[in-house]
């Protein structure tokens, strides 16, 4: 029961962080899209989509793993 509670808390926290990332993408859309297009002005800004993709995959990927586990869907040993 304690394990299930811990899993629930982790899932909710990760879900909130993941939702926060998506909200940030929506909220700072103009800046992020400008950076994505800003490769000509600044050499490294072209990496913006890659950095965003890595951050989202780490947070949202862990959240989705916890999500299914919370509902009892996990791999066979």
């Amino acid at each position: 029961m304690e394990k299930k509670k811990k899993l629930l808390i982790e899932t909710v926290v990760l879900g909130i962080v993941s939702a926060g990332l998506y909200f940030s993408l929506y909220y700072f859309e103009d800046t992020i899209m400008m950076w994505s297009k800003g490769y000509k002005e600044s050499g490294w800004l072209f990496l913006t989509p890659l950095v965003v993709a890595f951050i989202f995959s780490a947070v949202h990927g862990t959240f989705t793993s916890h999500f299914w586990e919370f509902f009892g869907i996990k791999a066979k040993k």
């Binding site: 993408l25 103009d30 993709a53 995959s57 990927g61 869907i73 066979k76 040993k77």
Partner: protein, 361 residues
């Protein structure tokens, strides 16, 4: 409602976002299970929303590599990934992507958009016709043999490939428990990349090549394909990002759904028999082949190789083709979900009988 809008990037409606999320989910489910898939629907789907072709390809690439990363880490936990083989094939696949993209560009400049579409559809039909029917026939034979639990047999071709020793080129791969010359792996990776650059799904060659030519077990081949997809996707994203073509909003919307899917697909592989990878892959390949085959007369008519088709016929053929693509992905997703639920129930029943712990992740 204009849900998202920015400068030269396309406007997205709320319904588009929901559609991309759902297709991303099913695409992720299929990718987690067979190592690739989804792109053949996602790219045309984005284009139908008004996204320029190159941006649709770029955004698809940008969702593909983080998805493949998450999927390969998940399946590595289950001991299904041969990282070394994935990297070796992935590097040569990257070269294939570059050559394939260059060839595509050349065809487009010479024959225009219609010529390029005809080339892509012809490659689809030829490759999927040969490889898809072989994979499906093999799955059918295993299913009817009744030996579903039997260890997969290494093909005669794979045994021959492994028997060729070329000094200075041999590498040991844990998935094969054997050495193979990189002179065999390089062309396979290259062909995977070429196909990825042409039809967006390199795994339709990569996975069968690993199974039938190198003798890698099906589940390991599909998991290792995720490493190749990560390398190709990452390389492709850097290339398109340098050109400012990646629409990160599109990529992250698709990723939101696909990460839910890829977790399920990866979990599914621990409950099913190995031949199910071949069943899902074969069925999807044949349905996609039908979808692309249907529109070939449209391109032939536009190039005036056959008598012209009227507009309503063209529209009908194109709609049926796109519908078949969605159907192919949905059928694949349905088989995986069915196999997962069936496998989990059987395992639960077994557990109840034995009164042992069910599962760990």
């Amino acid at each position: 409602m204009d849900f998202l809008n920015f400068g030269t990037y396309p406007e997205l409606m709320f319904i588009d976002v929901i559609f991309l999320f759902i297709v991303g989910f099913i695409g992720g489910l299929v990718s987690g299970f067979i190592g690739s898939g989804g792109a053949f629907v996602l790219t045309p789907a984005m284009m139908s929303m008004g996204v320029p072709a190159i941006m649709a390809v770029a955004s698809n690439m940008c969702h593909k590599f983080p998805k493949a990363l998450v999927g390969s880490i998940k399946r590595a936990k289950y001991g299904q990934v041969d990282v070394k083989l994935g990297i070796v094939l992935g590097i040569s696949a990257e070269a294939g992507v570059l050559v394939g993209a260059h060839l595509q560009q050349h065809i487009k400049e010479t024959f225009g958009n219609v010529g390029s579409n005809l080339y892509v559809s012809t490659v689809f039909v030829i490759v999927l016709g040969i490889v898809g029917s072989y994979v499906l026939r093999d799955a059918w034979k295993i299913y009817h043999s009744g030996n579903h639990d039997e260890e997969e047999k290494v093909t005669a071709l794979a045994r021959w490939v492994r028997s060729i020793h070329i000094p200075g080129t041999m590498m040991y791969f844990s998935s094969m428990k054997s050495t193979v010359s990189v002179l065999f792996t390089i062309p396979l990776g290259f062909a995977t990349g070429m196909l990825a650059a042409t039809i967006a799904v390199g795994g339709f060659i990569g996975v069968p090549a690993m199974i039938y030519i190198l003798g890698v077990p099906s589940l390991m081949a599909s998991a290792t394909e995720l490493v190749i997809a990560f390398i190709m996707g990452m390389g492709g994203t850097i290339k398109f990002a340098l050109e400012g073509q990646v629409d990160i909003r599109l990529a992250m919307i698709i990723l939101a759904g696909s990460l839910f899917g890829i977790q399920l697909g990866a979990i599914g592989t621990t409950y099913v028999k190995a031949y199910m990878v071949k069943v899902v892959m074969g069925v999807i390949m044949i349905l996609v082949l039908l979808s692309r085959g249907i529109v070939i007369p449209v391109y032939l008519s536009r190039l005036e190789y056959i008598s012209p088709l009227n507009d309503s016929t063209i529209k009908l053929l194109e709609s049926v083709s796109f519908g078949l693509l969605i159907f192919a992905l949905s059928v694949g997703g349905f088989i995986i979900l069915y196999a997962l639920i069936h496998g989990m129930r059987a395992h639960q029943k077994q557990h109840q009988e034995l009164e042992e712990p069910i599962a760990t992740d």
